[in-house]
């Protein structure tokens, strides 16, 4: 290769590079802690860089810094950001404003809170464009109609209506998916060189998420725009990104082509992260045990259960069995009624009818009318570990409260607390702590310890991992497996189908208040019969075979291509 060639090659490479970050450091005031340290990255036009990390890794701080924006009490202390050859940092406020929207645009995590509730969509779209054209005065009617034409064009591209009626709407009149499309349109409207996306599919159901991701992928290719996609979800990023950067405590610990990082991770944290991601197991499930002739009656038997709020029915015709020592998953998206069902079973939701028989006895609607023994034997773990523990009580008292109330004053309280903590994989010394001295994962373990202190037969887990990082989620799932091995039955409520395929023996798929598919996990995952389940499996992002090997370290690694399927 000649020098000229190299130079030309470099120039071309330079031409293709939309974003270059050199040694970027952001610190927090007044502690001077480095939130992100010495970050260097590049993204080419038309490519998407996936920026993966768990909470506290600094990924959002980095994302905002790419727009020369720092949250309160943080600032950039060193490093540079170059957008298509133009430096972004160190410019005047007015220059930075001129670059935002045109050179770099932002798609927020939650469009519901990022769209101004008091302004019409048309206004919000138009102002994004108006300013991006350098704030030039519109030259008579043509400029206005140019703006208007562009607004309609970009709406068309994200598959939204473009008529005046739609432009006059307010954000609250749109569905979550539509709001996110508006946010995407707003970001692409002024042809930016770079788009920063901060977990833009959080809170969307998997089908909507798949559509939004498709739109993002298509638009970045068509526009030749570089994308930085921030996410905690390795599966989503694996599907979407060309390159991956893994962040851990403010550092980029691994950066390279997505296929390479997924197939052959170098950094231990990346391996740990990949191993923790629950993968959709559609095959390889154990065959269901043959139903014996004299099978004992199930521990929990639900038939024709119907529940609602006021005059609205949210659940109908629910039939589920949970056998002793079995884990049954209740799979559904938000609004499917899965939490209503689990709360009915524990006596917190009172408006239900139908058969709910626990160990031969019908459960009354209110926990207050159930026997102490029933309340002891069915325990519940809540979704949000930050709200499930009374912040004014010590862990020890939290664990003892249900025991004391349901069983009686224990002769050896220390033994009960220590045993429960041990089964939840926490040291006994944690008994003296208050909840605010615990991390999210530890809090969830305390919730579990509190529930199992009464030695229940059935543990109902309501989305107990959804507020936790994946690595913590994996630990909690492991803990539940151990409990099940000790003979406890689990009703595991979740929206995550991959998780279901990893923990449950049987699954009930809940859609709009009805069970659309019910059976053993192996059958449902490998040959789903209902179209809803099929769509759910098809739309769930995952990174297929290659990392399936990573998950089982004992099998030889067959490092093949791991490109996401489109």
């Amino acid at each position: 290769m000649t020098i000229q060639d190299t130079a030309q090659h470099n120039a071309e490479e330079e031409e293709r590079t939309a974003l270059r970050v050199d040694g970027l450091t952001v610190i927090g005031r007044p502690s001077d802690v480095e939130i992100i340290s010495d970050i260097s990255l590049q993204v080419r036009r038309g490519d998407i860089l996936g920026l993966v990390g768990e909470s506290g890794s600094g990924k959002t701080t980095l994302g905002l810094a790419l727009l020369a924006h720092c949250k309160r009490a943080t600032e950039v202390t060193s490093g540079g950001i170059t957008l298509s050859g133009e430096p972004l940092l160190g410019r005047s406020d007015a220059d930075v404003r001129a670059m935002r929207g045109r050179a770099v645009a932002y798609i927020p995590q939650s469009p519901a809170s990022a769209l101004n509730p008091a302004l019409r969509l048309g206004t919000q779209l138009r102002e994004a464009l108006h300013d991006a054209t350098g704030g030039a005065e519109p030259e008579g009617a043509t400029a206005v109609s140019d703006t208007d034409a562009r607004v309609r064009e970009v709406l068309r591209e994200v598959a939204l209506p473009e008529d005046d009626k739609f432009l006059r709407r307010y954000p609250h009149q749109l569905s979550g998916g539509q709001q996110q499309r508006v946010a995407i349109a707003m970001a692409f409207i002024a042809f930016p060189d770079l788009i920063v996306m901060d977990e833009p599919t959080t809170g969307l159901d998997v089908t909507t998420q798949a559509h939004v991701l498709q739109t993002i992928r298509r638009m970045t290719r068509e526009y030749g725009t570089a994308g930085v996609y921030i996410s905690h979800d390795m599966a989503v990023v694996a599907d979407l990104a060309d390159d991956l950067a893994v962040m851990y405590k403010g550092d980029v610990v691994e950066h390279g082509p997505a296929a390479r990082v997924l197939a052959d991770p170098q950094h231990p944290y990346t391996m740990q992260l990949l191993r923790a991601v629950p993968l959709l197991k559609t095959e390889g499930h154990a065959d269901p045990a043959e139903a014996a002739e004299d099978a004992p009656a199930p521990l929990l038997r639900v038939r024709g259960l119907r529940a609602g709020y006021g005059s609205t029915t949210v659940l109908s015709g629910i039939d589920i069995d949970v056998d002793r020592g079995e884990c049954v998953a209740l799979l559904g998206e938000s609004g499917s009624g899965k939490t209503t069902l689990s709360r009915s079973l524990v006596g917190l939701h009172h408006q239900f009818s139908g058969e709910a028989v626990f160990d031969g006895e019908q459960l009354t609607t209110s926990s207050y009318r159930r026997t102490a023994e029933q309340r002891r034997r069915v325990q519940y773990v809540f979704q949000n570990p930050y709200e499930a523990l009374n912040p004014r009580k010590r862990v020890r008292d939290l664990i003892l409260a249900p025991y004391t109330h349901l069983v009686g004053k224990p002769a050896a309280p220390d033994g009960i607390v220590d045993n429960a903590l041990e089964r939840a994989a926490l040291p006994a010394s944690y008994g003296n702590r208050y909840p605010d001295q615990l991390s999210g994962g530890e809090r969830q373990r305390v919730s579990i310890a509190r529930a199992i202190a009464t030695t229940p037969d059935l543990l109902i887990c309501d989305e107990i991992t959804s507020a936790l990082d994946v690595s913590v989620q994996a630990e909690i799932v492991e803990l539940l497996r151990n409990l099940q091995r000790d003979g406890m039955a689990l009703l595991f409520v979740t929206h995550n189908i991959a998780l279901v395929s990893n923990i449950a023996q049987r699954v009930a798929v809940l859609n709009k208040g009805e069970i659309v598919e019910y059976g053993d996990v192996g059958t449902v995952m490998s040959s789903p019969t209902h179209s809803y389940t099929q769509a759910l499996i098809a739309d769930t992002p995952d990174f297929e075979l290659s990392v399936g090997e990573v998950q089982q370290p004992e099998s030889p690694s067959a490092g093949t291509s791991a490109a996401g399927r489109d």
Binding site: R375, Q379, Y386, A401, Q437
Partner: protein
Amino acid sequence: MSTATAPAPEAAAAAPGSPQRREGLFRAAWRHGRTKVGVTLVGVIVLIAVIGPFVSPYSPTELVGIPNRASVDGTVFGTDGIGRDVLSRFLHGGYTLISIAVSAALGGVLLGTVLGVIAGYQRGWLDEAIMRVNDMALAFPQLVLALLVMSIIGPQVWLIVALIGVSHACRVARVAREATLKVVEQDFVKSAEAIGLPRWRIMTAEILPNITSPLLVELGLRITYSVGLIATLSFLGMGLQPPTADWGLMINENRIAVTVQPWSVVLPVAAVALLTIGANLITDGLSRASIGIDRGVEKQ
């Protein structure tokens, strides 16, 4: 001094390396400079009110000289409108005001808390009933309600305490209910219900300890308003009655002669002002601290 208070028992008891527990409301409030100023102001005024009667040179009703003179031999601040010693009346005039104000505020906060927690936790018709009655009561400004009732029965100390207390209770009930609603939303209350803990235990053991911060802030606010209201009633001639020595009444009695004898107005106005400002500064310190403290209850 800080070394004497530092070793917190729970921090010592917890395992080595366990994270520090968040500090308590009062200690967090004390970090704010305004709390210290407030405590100083309130301390000084309360001290005057409490030990004043024992150190006053004359009886508050004794005639010591010609009326309305700023300088009279044997007095520091001269005489009031009928010739009594201004300093002695000032020193005697705070005790009743402060005790009435604090009783009314305490009673109001207690009653309001009970109503608010019950309304917020039980919901349903009871909530509707309590809050609708409350709305009606709120249509009267506190001062006007007190004046309305006392216009017929006449000014009585117990009536003042009851009226101010009840009108406080309506306002406290709203705050207590809002705070309760936030706590009831949280799953630890649901968790207690799932094991069938009696409702009264849930209200006292799960909810109440988690709304103490807003209630303490409310108590501070109510004491501030009580002092202002009761001083205003006395100033209007509808509070404590002559010949009682009372700061509000002193202002009422002597404001006509403020040009020739300003002390009999300036002293009580200054005392009332410093007391309310001090109480409000403490309240503000508490409320700033409680925002930081309650954040632990919410997610992140």
